[in-house]
Symmetry: C2
Subunit: 248 residues, 2 copies
């Protein structure tokens, strides 16, 4: 069973999710597909009256530990956000199904719908979303640029999830701005300049969320704020969308 | 304040949402932007120790009652799903901001991310979503067909929300199939036939959800199942997506 805790640490879990965890034999957790506020798992464990075992990325992706345990007991994997948005969880559920294990997903708030909601932008105007990946010396993926280009041509907003790298950590807003401008330099489609305004949402559902509608060049000012960040590259705005963004 | 209860009736609310409702002076609710299981509001009221006043569509969209109350008290509007996906909630929050009322949104699970998760399809392969509207004698919107066409051309899945009409009620799976086939007859792009396979999710997060990967012509068999329905028109599938759909 996959149980989402949503975007607000342990307080983002649903009543159904909490009930399910309390009824479970064993609770595992991972925290590499999403960032969670410090102390979340300890507090969640206290709420469930159980110890939660933290698994490494290798243990989750290796699947062995979880699938072995699920043979004889009811097992839950706690996931921040809404589970199944990361491919890892889909693979895991599929492996469990192949072994005849009964599976269930308990949903919770997701950065996908929360980002749409916090921005006030129309849900129907979002195109394909994409992860903005780090650029390295020998690997400079342009996929995010292509997606933004394609979406903009259709009048659609783009939700950009920021890369979480094991070594480099979660991508900072300044690094996101840097990659976007390098992409423009490479792609030359005049999609944006340092003055292009976009939406930054950081720490949604956390104590003090940061919501900004600002120029690309101003993103760096948000580096020090807490929590996971997403960026929305807006297409042409409806006047109500414009008013909402101005009120952030 | 807008408080989401997610997709699972009162058990879909987060701990943060429940706390906020308990601390509130007045709780209102609407249930026309989303369907909720019978008795949800009464049970939620009992959990909060407060009576929840149900507002009509006119009262929510008129905004007066809510904004008047919010002048002198802390007021919450309970919304099924994740708030702000419906334009009504964005307008309401904007009106509150214009009047200097402090606003907050407490997120919960949404049909958007839950449908992606339940289908096992890759989140990055979804294009623009769209509502499949009822066809009437004098109004036969083709927008859903155009969106599906555009998404398919880009290799992207389409999430179709089914219309909820005040008089006709929520669109049944058979009616959805009917409208889709009429659109094909009109649009002639050969996007689908009665044999085209698609995903139907009904009553996600409810007691007995229905998940089907079946032909358009078989949708009618799901009419009697309980709960709100969404349809996903898949693009070309990755073999893991195919396997997951086959396991539904």
């Amino acid at each position: 069973m996959l149980v989402g805790t949503g975007i607000s640490g342990e307080r983002g879990i649903s009543l159904a999710g909490l009930e399910a965890l309390r009824a479970c034999d064993k609770i595992y957790a991972e925290r590499y597909t999403n960032l969670v506020p410090e102390g979340t798992l300890a507090r969640l464990g206290a709420l469930c009256g159980k110890k939660i075992a933290l698994l490494s990325r290798e243990q989750v992706e290796g699947e062995k530990e979880l699938l072995e345990a699920a043979k004889s007991e009811s097992v839950a994997l706690v996931v921040a956000g809404d589970p199944m948005i990361a491919t890892t969880h889909v693979s895991l559920l599929l492996s469990a199904k192949r072994r005849g294990v009964q599976t269930e997903v308990i949903h919770a708030s997701s950065v996908l719908s929360a980002a749409i909601g916090e921005s006030g932008l129309q849900a129907y105007k979002f195109g394909k979303m994409v992860t903005l990946a780090y650029w390295r010396d020998n690997y400079r993926p342009m996929s995010a640029y292509d997606v933004i280009s394609d979406n903009l041509a259709r009048g659609l907003h783009t939700l950009l999830l920021l890369d979480i790298d094991e070594k480099l950590g979660p991508m900072k807003p300044s690094a996101a701005a840097d990659v976007l401008l390098k992409m423009e330099h490479e792609g030359k489609k005049k999609l944006f300049t340092p003055q292009t305004k976009l939406v930054l949402l950081k720490g949604m559902g956390w104590g003090e969320p940061t919501k900004k509608y600002c120029a690309l060049s101003e993103l760096a000012a948000c580096d020090a704020k807490e929590g996971p960040a997403v960026v929305i590259m807006p297409a042409k705005l409806h006047f109500l969308e414009e008013e909402f963004l101005a009120s952030l």
